[in-house]
Symmetry: C2
Subunit: 523 residues, 2 copies
């Protein structure tokens, strides 16, 4: 790129063009929340990963953000940036190498294209929203090692995701030795399985990962990037690198990836199985990511049997594995009260037919967990473990989905998307009440495995007043139907805690499980 | 007392004599974990509460503990101490008044009398034990204002407690304006309701409280002392004193009461209803109590709708109000994983017939909560809210118990006391399993409202090996019977997760709710 050259500030209607990694050239315009990259030529001798420091300050008016650069091999140095407002941005580099130091330039950020809502943020304490205000109703899935498979399988996974209900995927940076394939790329220079030069990253590995993250971004899918995991088991040793390598790795990953708006940082999967790391190591790694990331992407950590202390300030939302908690909204709600942060039950067992009890949920049980979680004002993650002839399973390697839950989760996500943008809040959680929503406006109820034949029209009192009117729909969450209930219900105070339909009516239900009710205020 | 005089170190077989406040004179021997008191004459002019500082260091060999003294009115100054080991203790006072400074003496601590097990401590992360090693199986009750009632009613409460199943009582230091009686004593000098001199405590109020705590100690009942509560509502203003008064009050209470081994500190009841105090105030108050208490009695804080962050280091155990969490052991277990501390569900609704939904549990539901809590490896608190002709209820004013739960809680406590001293640990909590106990040794199962007619003899695998033998008993927790099951069950590996009786036998159950099973290893 032409450093310090005056830049044309044209704002083409078609939006900025990007390369195969979803990155705009530094001299062209970039979308707000897109990624722009400054490329500089610098030293290729010595060990640039260890010896060269590079960053840039990006300024717009009184605001400035600092982004760290990285060495991308072959004497190329890059600094990536995600502008969060439109207009002209100025930048200036800093480096301990004169050739990289003091380079100035500017570029224009233009309005985001359709589908670009910015990064996901915590909103209303317990919920998520994109930075542009669009609600983010998390319906996540898991495919730990999909990006380490053969090219054809990765393409198939992307195709599957494109038509899936999922708007978030948990995926690991490091390959997974539990999964029987040999990656073609590794994160460090050296020779598999164990002869690594931990002082030199392999840029090709990260460029590949970036391409996948960029493709997910295009699909509108958040990449919940798992930074460490215990499934290496010493095979390549990425689970037991020295502390200084871990820290350098975290900084390198953040420098490369933070400018992708769809990145979330998951410090680990089943962190407590990583026996080489102590509790205080995780605190330090969290802080490194927190300090390194100019955009403050979401951060959490996923457990096996021991919960991380999610009250710590660097945890933005709670990521939990638990096999039983989402079977019941009255269980799932409890962690909300503890943490006062969004709670995502990222692992609640998987739909499948594995012999292990964590991988043999029925489709019905998988879908039930999403609904119970929603009624608790929390979010749930999907996984699939059907034994394929290939030996693969979605949650390990990606590919295609076989379960009965994804179609129902698409229906579930549609129902969520029609709910109040503030998020579903439990109604009367102290007592336990199968409704969530927004007091006096919107109620979504779910009866789980119960098979009621009627629901007396009785709502918890908060916000209600005599004469308020509501319409109702009966939702079959498994058969994916929404059936309007005839008539309008007008409420009247019933007792110290509830309002009921003034004529004492009930809503008929079909006596099947997995039924829900939607009750919406009408003028 | 004769200061600095050599003391006789006789150890009478009958144990040391104590006064009406359960306090041994400083020149006589004292039981280990008993209370000894140094009384000194000092200034009665000015404001001794504000102006005089007094403390003493108590030494035995290389150990020393510092106890703060207090002004008890009429020119009398006192320093109380609870020795935690037998033998001779030396002490020396410090004061900003020469007459109180540098006083030395010694006394002998003798072996504890029967029933004196020392203070209760956290043990095995999630459980409690007395300092002498005896398990403490918490079966608590609640009577907030019993010590502020008329003398006759207080005596009746003590009589009730003497034959009750309860080994802990939650009780407030401050009187309760919700309760319609006028206390005869107040904690400050002044005139009710609002003309207080917050710079002067009323020693008579505290002497009375001490007598009650001493009487509870004699009964073997822990006093879970509630230091602040929101039920004053500005009537006397003890819920909205200035911060410096709160801090002085806490130090005075700790100085007076810490030497009673049966004291627990509950910073507040429904702390989040005390709107005058901010979250950081509670942190500071916790720290004051933590720093002031030489014996480190148990500390917690009780909530209404907002949970305190119990991960903070000064919280020794978790005290929770929740109306629904103990209805299901799979809910109740969740907070254990968060906090890694003992969890006491101190308020789970009350047995009674109040119109409020928090005060109308059936006896069955009250007892069920204790059992579900136990299976979760947690502890539960009792309360009773029957409308008496007097307008009183146990949980407000004390008196007598009318409910059906106390008899069953006595039975429950007996079952607990026959359980492993380490405490009941959930068996296979990840999956959800209605048993708690000690792997391969002891299993206590509870079926709640389910009404099984048989239980297939299948246990989770941990610790089991083919050929291990068990006996079983069927427990009716409501009718309070224990029925041995004929024969011995020998287990054999069944699948990846379980062992079963080698002959595939089941245990017959009566098809009633509230049944439990006890399975104990035999040689």
């Amino acid at each position: 790129m032409a450093l310090c050259a005056p830049l044309a500030h044209a704002q083409p209607k078609s939006g900025p063009s990007v390369n195969g990694f979803g990155i705009a050239a530094a001299n062209g315009p970039v979308e707000k929340w897109g990624t722009i990259e400054i490329e500089l030529a610098g030293p290729s001798t010595g060990n640039p990963f260890m010896e060269v420091e590079l960053s840039a300050v990006f300024r717009q008016g009184q605001r400035q953000l600092q982004a760290t650069g990285f060495y991308d091999g072959d004497g190329k140095y890059k600094i990536r940036f995600m502008p969060d407002s439109v207009g002209v941005w100025q930048y200036e580099t800093s480096s301990n190498r004169p050739i990289l130091n003091g380079k100035r330039g500017s570029f224009t950020a233009v309005a985001p294209a359709t589908g670009n809502h910015g990064p996901v943020r915590v909103r209303n304490t317990f919920h998520f929203g994109y930075e542009d205000g669009t609600p983010f109703w998390q319906v996540g899935t898991t495919s730990y090692a999909w990006a380490h498979q053969g090219e054809q399988l990765q393409q198939q996974t992307l195709q599957t995701l494109a038509t899936s209900p999922f708007n978030k995927i948990r995926m690991a940076v490091f390959p997974n030795s539990d999964v029987k394939n040999t990656p073609s790329l590794y994160p460090f220079e050296g020779t598999a399985p164990l002869q690594w030069d931990f002082s030199r990253f392999n840029p090709a590995f990260f460029r590949h990962l970036e391409q996948r993250i960029s493709q997910l971004r295009t699909l509108g899918i958040e990449a919940d990037l798992i930074l460490f995991h215990p499934y290496d088991k010493g095979h390549w040793g990425f689970d037991r690198m020295p502390a200084d390598v871990n820290e350098r790795y975290l900084k390198y990953v953040v420098a490369r990836l933070a400018a992708y708006r769809n990145v979330w940082w998951s410090m680990a999967n089943e962190f407590d199985f990583l026996k080489e790391k102590k509790p205080e190591d995780w605190d330090r790694y969290f802080e490194i990511v927190q300090m390194s990331d100019p955009y403050q992407h979401l951060r959490s950590i996923h457990n096996a049997f021991v919960l991380y202390n999610h009250t710590k300030p660097w945890v933005t939302h709670v990521s939990i594995q638990n096999g039983a908690v989402t079977e019941d909204y009255e269980r799932a709600v409890l962690y909300r009260d503890v943490y006062n942060k969004p709670v995502v039950y990222d692992e609640v067992k998987y739909e499948g037919n594995f012999p292990q009890r964590w991988g043999q949920l029925s489709g019905e049980d998988m879908v039930l967990r999403f609904w119970e979680g929603a009624i608790a004002g929390t979010y749930v993650g999907h996984g699939e473990t059907f034994t394929e002839p290939s030996g693969r399973a979605w949650t390990g390697q990606g590919g295609t989905l076989h379960g009965q839950s994804p179609a129902r989760l698409a229906f579930f996500r549609k129902i969520l998307s029609e709910s109040p943008a503030e998020g579903l809040e439990p109604i009367d959680k102290w007592q336990g009440n199968p409704f969530a929503g927004k007091h006096a406006q919107y109620y979504l109820g779910y009866f789980g495995r119960d098979t009621p034949t009627a629901w007396p029209f009785v709502l918890f009192k908060t916000g209600l007043a005599d004469g308020m009117k509501f319409r109702a729909e009966v939702i079959d969450t498994w058969n994916m139907t929404v059936t309007p209930v005839d008539g309008i219900f007008e409420v009247k105070k019933r007792d110290n805690y509830t309002f009921a339909d003034k004529d004492g009516r009930s809503i008929a239900l079909p006596g099947r499980p997995y039924m829900a009710l939607r009750i919406v205020r009408v003028p």
